[in-house]
């Protein structure tokens, strides 16, 4: 809270009327973002909970499903996302120091990484589509059943794995798309020199959001791709 009276003489153009000063505005925005991320945690939490229960019940099918995912593409994607987090972090730093060009470049890089991630994810999904692993009427896992004769695969349980796989990565990808959109807007404003060392809250907040989306993936990757990679006996 601030003690300064509402009537502020020198006015930062970015200060909205109902805040007493820039500090209050900045704190409010960042608290807002943190609270929002808390709701996001609960949002994904519901799905993680479903995942854990079914993985415990249908372990064989989950392991087989996990093996059918492309571990290399998954790893590359993890690396891509970590890089994008780095560029965002650097971008925030550039904004704090008021380096406009650097900021624009770093934001663009982030967008490129984000798109790369989505592209790779798209390729993975497309492969699944060709393999008939998309839940629905054409769902078919005979290939997996043939591949792992040692374990018994119940197609309906296998379908749950893929349902959760698509729901979780889909929701994550949706968050990525929104993030890329936000960064596109921010890049435009950054290019227009809207952000100064005194006022760059949007960059910080978008950065927070992006890190959060990253962290979700850091959980998704081992949960979905690395369930059981040991060679089957």
């Amino acid at each position: 809270m601030s003690d300064s009276p509402i009537a502020v003489e020198e006015h930062n153009p970015a200060l909205r009327h109902h805040f007493a000063d820039m500090e209050q505005q900045r704190q409010a925005s960042s608290l807002g973002m943190w609270v929002f991320l808390a709701t996001e945690v609960m949002f994904f939490g519901g799905m993680f909970c479903a995942y854990l229960i079914y993985r415990y019940w249908y372990y064989n099918e989950f392991a087989a499903g996990s093996r059918s995912l492309d571990i290399w593409l998954g790893t590359i994607n993890t690396a891509v996302l970590i890089c994008s987090s780095l560029t965002v972090a650097l971008g925030v730093r550039a904004a704090q120091m008021g380096k406009r060009k650097l900021l624009v470049i770093l934001l663009l890089l982030t967008i490129v990484f984000g798109l790369a991630f989505l592209g790779i994810k798209g390729v993975e999904w497309y492969t699944k589509f060709q393999e008939h692993h998309i839940p629905g009427s054409s769902f078919n896992v005979d290939d997996l059943i043939k591949e792992y004769p040692q374990i018994r695969i119940d197609p309906s349980h296998q379908q749950i794995f893929f349902s959760l796989y698509f729901a979780m990565t889909g929701l994550h990808a949706l968050h990525m798309i929104i993030g890329v959109g936000i960064f596109a807007v921010l890049t435009f404003y950054a290019w227009k020199s809207l952000y100064t060392p005194e006022y760059h809250t949007p960059i910080e907040l978008a950065g927070l959001y992006w890190h959060f989306v990253d962290i979700i993936w850091i959980y998704l990757f081992p949960l979905l791709y690395l369930i059981d990679r040991k060679p089957l006996k």
Binding site: W57, Y58, N60, I151, R152, I153, D154, H157
Partner: protein, 331 residues
């Protein structure tokens, strides 16, 4: 007076009385609490109503008082909790040796099968004084088996068995309701439970005994579906010997141990891959979609019956030590 304006349904089972006792206690408690609060409000409202020149007295609060009205209600709550839990515990643990009735619910009817082989629809006949255990499943959505006179209710789920039990105490005809919303004719999914004197009940049983017992029915299904090719009553079969299986712990391939209850047997038949018995290969075919719920009930009843000494010309399973032969108690 209670005949024209009753406050509780007929009491026709052993639990009904204990549920009503707790209920009456709670009504009294609730009435006492709310009346005392109302009286306090009314007294304060008249005694301290606004008058010229009289100021309210500012009182900050009082921690001892706050503690009192935190701890005392909590204590009362714990009494209610324990009391309710004791009743529930009894409601949820069927006594050994209860007669079994298999229930299959579907939109919008109840299909019931007695151990002795009688089948009924939307009607259940039971004798007074015998423990009856219901083993229930649904063919479609969730239903709920509710007999108000027994104070008994249990949801009936698709894809698994749920159980409930009662012992009727008073002959008569009572409502059977479906209590979980299940679609268009949810309110039409009703029937009746007919409680009879034991002698009457025997007569009723005799009336429909032509079909043979549920277990015998299960045995013929066991042959038809080819279960017997793998499950033999010696050690030669490709599958485990099922005699004496029911109620025993089973060692699984992945190291876990599970108790072979109705749901385990059900799962072993419908999706055998979920739990592989230690020492066996996962070769048992999936029977999901090949057996109806009724056939499944019969199979389960049959496998359970293998715990008993041979009845008639059935297979010759060895009675394992520690298994109690099942004997319906008639009083």
């Amino acid at each position: 007076m209670f005949d024209t304006f009753p406050l509780w349904p007929a009491r026709a089972s052993t639990t009904a009385g204990s549920v009503d006792a707790l209920y009456i206690f709670l009504v009294a408690l609730a009435a006492f609490m709310s009346v005392s609060i109302f009286i306090m409000i009314v007294v304060f409202a008249t005694r301290f109503r606004r008058r010229k020149g009289v100021q309210a007295e500012q009182i900050e609060g009082s921690t001892p008082l706050e503690l009192t009205w935190t701890v005392i209600p909590l204590g009362i709550f714990m009494v209610i909790f324990v009391w309710g839990a004791v009743i529930y515990f009894r409601e949820r643990t069927p006594p050994r040796g209860a007669t079994e009735v298999y229930v299959v619910a579907k939109q919008w009817m109840w299909k019931l099968q007695h151990e002795e082989g009688q089948r009924e629809i939307n009607e259940l006949h039971v004798p007074v004084g015998r423990d009856v255990k219901m083993i229930m499943t649904s063919q479609d959505v969730i239903h709920s088996f509710y007999v108000p006179a027994f104070r008994m209710k249990q949801d009936v789920l698709p894809g698994r068995y749920t159980t409930a039990w009662f012992r009727a105490t008073r002959p008569g005809t009572y409502h059977l309701f479906c209590a979980e919303y299940c679609g268009t004719m949810h309110s039409g999914m009703i029937g009746q439970v007919v409680v009879m004197e034991p002698a009457q009940y025997e007569a009723w049983l005799g009336g429909g005994a032509a079909m043979g017992s549920l277990a015998a029915n299960g045995e013929s299904i066991f042959q038809q579906l080819g279960c017997s090719t793998c499950h033999r009553f010696d050690t030669q079969g490709r599958g485990p010997n099922l005699a004496g299986l029911f109620g025993k712990p089973v060692q699984l391939e992945d190291g876990r141990t599970v108790v072979a209850d109705e749901n385990y047997i059900r799962e072993s038949i419908l999706s055998p891959a979920a739990k592989i018995v230690s020492g066996f290969k996962p070769i048992m075919p999936v029977f999901q979609g090949l057996v109806s719920e009724e056939q499944l009930s019969a199979l389960v009843a049959y496998i359970k019956s293998l715990n008993q000494p041979p009845a008639g010309a059935a297979a010759t399973p060895s009675l394992l030590p520690g298994t109690k032969p099942q004997q319906p108690k008639v009083q």
